[in-house]
C-alpha cells in the first residue's frame, strides 16, 4: 500500500515538474522548429530571480502568502526580458537556417547565459525555502508529503489546460497551429509569422523561467542547474514527440512514474530507466509517441 502510494505520488510530482520544464521547449520547437538548448538557462534564470527576490521579500517581513504571486511575477518579467532579448537580438537573424545550425546557435546562447548568471549571482547557493515549508505537509497512510508538491501538481494541471485551451479553442491558437502545420502557407495567407515567432519564443521563455521559479523553493539554486534539467527535458519531449504539447505531458508522466518505480524497486537503475524508456519508445516510434510523421519538403 505504502509502496504503491509512494510510487504514484512521487511519480506524479516529478512528472509535473518535468512537464513545466518541457512545455516551453516543445512549444518553441513546434512553432519555430528550433531545438532550444538555451531553455535550461531560462529555467536557471527563473530559479535565481525567484530565489533572490524571495530572500529579499521575506527579509523585509512582507506577508508570506503573497510570495507565491511573486514567483509568478518574477518568471513573467524574466521570461519577457530574456525571451525578447534572445529572439530579437539573435534568433531573428538566423531564421530559415538548418535545424542543426539553430542547435549550435542556441548552444552558444546557453554558454553565454551560463556565464552571465555567474556574473550576476556568483557561485554561492541561493535559498528560497519559505514558500516550500509554508504550506506544511499531509500525512497519507504512514507517509508524509509536502503540500507544496501537491500545489505544483495543481499548477501544472492549470498550465497544461491553459496551453491546450489556447491552442485548440482560441483564434490565436488556430493561427499558431497554422504556422506549426506550414509556416509558408500561413505566411502566404496573411499570418505575420515573425510576430508569431516572437510571441511563441517569449511564452516558451516564460514557461522555462516559471518552472525554475516554482522549483527554487525546494532546492538549492546553484550554478549549472539549467544544464542538468535540459537533458531531462529533451528526454521528455523526444518520448512525447518533438513539438507536441500533449506528447510532452504524456512523456513527463512516463518518465516520472518509471523513475519513481525504479527508485523504490531497483534504486541502482534510476539513472538508466529514463533513457531506457526513451530508447524503447524510439525503437518503435522514432518520431515519438504523439508527433505525426510528415514527408520532407524538397
Amino acid at each position: 500500500m505504502n509502496l504503491a502510494l509512494a510510487v504514484l505520488v512521487d511519480g506524479v510530482v516529478y512528472s509535473s515538474w518535468l512537464f513545466l520544464i518541457a512545455a516551453g521547449l516543445t512549444l518553441i520547437y513546434g512553432v519555430m522548429k528550433i531545438l532550444n538548448m538555451a531553455h535550461g538557462s531560462f529555467y536557471a534564470i527563473g530559479a535565481y530571480s525567484g530565489a533572490s527576490l524571495i530572500g529579499v521579500y521575506f527579509a523585509g517581513g512582507n506577508p508570506p502568502w503573497a510570495s507565491y504571486l511573486l514567483l509568478i511575477g518574477v518568471a513573467m518579467v524574466a521570461g519577457l526580458i530574456v525571451g525578447l532579448l534572445i529572439e530579437r537580438g539573435f534568433l531573428r537573424f538566423m531564421y530559415g537556417r538548418d535545424e542543426v545550425v539553430m542547435i549550435l546557435v542556441t548552444y552558444g546562447i546557453l554558454l553565454i547565459l551560463e556565464d552571465t548568471i555567474k556574473l550576476l549571482w556568483g557561485v554561492d547557493p541561493y535559498f528560497a525555502y519559505q514558500p516550500y515549508t509554508l504550506l506544511g505537509r499531509t500525512k497519507i497512510s504512514s507517509l508524509s508529503f509536502a503540500n507544496y508538491d501537491f500545489m505544483l501538481i495543481a499548477v501544472t494541471a492549470v498550465v497544461a489546460f491553459i496551453l491546450w485551451w489556447s491552442l485548440n479553442r482560441t483564434k490565436a491558437g488556430k493561427i499558431l497551429q497554422s504556422v506549426i502545420h506550414d509556416r509558408e502557407i500561413a505566411g502566404a495567407l496573411g499570418v505575420n509569422v515573425t510576430k508569431i515567432f516572437t510571441i511563441t519564443f517569449v511564452i516558451g521563455a516564460f514557461l522555462g523561467a516559471f518552472a525554475g521559479a516554482m522549483t527554487a523553493p525546494g532546492i538549492s539554486v546553484v550554478p549549472g542547474i539549467g544544464i542538468e534539467v535540459i537533458i531531462l527535458a529533451f528526454a521528455v519531449v523526444v518520448i512525447g514527440g518533438l513539438g507536441s504539447v500533449g506528447g510532452a505531458f504524456v512523456g513527463a508522466l512516463i518518465v516520472g512514474l518509471s523513475r519513481a518505480l525504479s527508485v523504490h524497486l531497483y534504486p541502482d537503475g534510476e539513472l538508466f530507466v529514463i533513457y531506457g524508456v526513451m530508447g524503447l519508445v524510439l525503437a518503435f516510434r522514432p518520431q515519438g509517441l504523439f508527433a505525426i510523421a510528415s514527408a520532407r519538403k524538397i
Partner: protein, 428 residues
Amino acid sequence: MLKTISKIAVCGALALGTVVSAANAADNYKLGLVTFLSGGAAGPFGVPAKNGADMIIDAINAGTLPAPYNKVGMNGVKIDPVYVDEAGGATKQVSEYRNLVERQGVNAVVGYISSGDCLAVPGVAEEMKKVTVLFDCGTPRVFEEADYKYVFRTASTTTMDSVAAVRYISEKVKGLKSVSGINQNYSFGQDSWNDFSKSLEQLNAGVTVSTTQFPKIYAGQYGAEVSALMVNPSEVIHSSFWGGDMEAFLLQGSARGLFDDQQVLLTCGETALYKFTDNFPEGTIVGGRGPNGIFAPKSDFNDWFQKEFKARFGTEPTYPVYHMVQAILGLKLATEKAAAAEGEIPTDEAVASAFEYLEYDTPAGKVVMANGNGHQAIQEMVFGQVSKVDGELVMKEVVRYPASCVNPPNGVKAEDWIASGFEGAVCN
C-alpha cells in the same frame, strides 16, 4: 664578418635569456592553483578554496605568518599564483596541467577537488617531474594503485570519514539496528558508501541496511528517494552529499518530516553549516573531512586564521579552505627544507625528497605525511551533532578520533584494512 656578428648576437641573446630566466626564478615563484571556479562544485568547494589560497599567499608574501612559516614567500621568493578552473573533466585537466608546466612555467602545482582529476593528473606530473600537491580529493586509490615521486596529498582520504562515521554512530546512536544510505551516483558517493557499509559490517555486524539510494549527481529532486527512506526506515541515514544536492535533500526531507524519526549523518555537512544553518535538523551528525572549520583544534594559528578569513570574506572558513591552506603550507616547508640558501628555488627532486614523511602544524592541527610512502597525509577525524542555542549554531557530542584509529597503516590498502577488522588501529 657577418657570421661573427650573428654568433655574437646569438650568444648575446642566449646570455640575456639565461639572465632573464634566472632573474625570473629569483623574482617570483609561480604557483599553479587548480580549483573549481565554475559549476556546481565552485560554491561549496572551489571558490572558498581559492579564497583560502589568496589569503594565505598574501600572508606568506608579507611574511606575517608565525614560525616556521615566517620567511617571506617561498624561501624568500614571492609567490605569484596562476589559477585554473577545474571544471571540464579529467581530459581537459591533463591538458591544463601541461599548459601550466610548459607554457606558464610554474614551479609547482597545488590543486584538484575531483577524485577523477586526482587519478588522471599524477601520471602526467610524474612524466613532467613537477612537484604536485593534491589538496582536497578523497579517493584512496591515488597512492594505493601507484607509487609517485613528485605527487603528494596533504588531506586524508575518504576512508577516514567512513570509518570514523561508523565508530561515531556505534558509540552515540542508542539502539542502532539499521542504517540507510543516500549517496551520489559517482565514484565519491559509491566509495563513501562502500567504505561505510563495509566498516559497519566489521564494527557492528548486527546492523542491517534498510535501503541504499544512488541518485544522479546534481539531480536536485529527491521526492522519490525521501519516500523510499520513509518506507524503509532506519535509525541513521548516511550521506556523502555535498553542495546543492545536500541542501536540496535536507530541504525536501525536512519539509516531509523525514528527519523527525531518523538521524541523518552528513560526512561533508560542515561546508554548509554557516550558509544553511536554519535548515539543519537538530541532531544532524556532521563531519568536515578532517579537523577543519568548527572542528579545528584550538590554537593561536587557527584563531588568527578564522578571524582573518571572516574579516576578509564575510564567512567562516570551511574544510576546502583548510585543505588548500595546508597544501600550500606543506609545499612551503618542503621547499624551504630543500633549499640550500636564502632566495634559492630548489629543484623539484629536492623538494619532493624533503616533502616525504613531513610533519607540520596547520590551522587544522598536525598533518603527518605518513601513508603512501610519505606522500599521503593522515589527520585526526571529528564528528559532532548540530544543535542550536538561541538560534546560534553549536556542536554537541563532539568526538575526536586519532589519525591512527581511522586511517590504514602505511602500505595497507583501505579496503584490505577494513576487511581485516582495522588491524593495527590505535584509538587511545
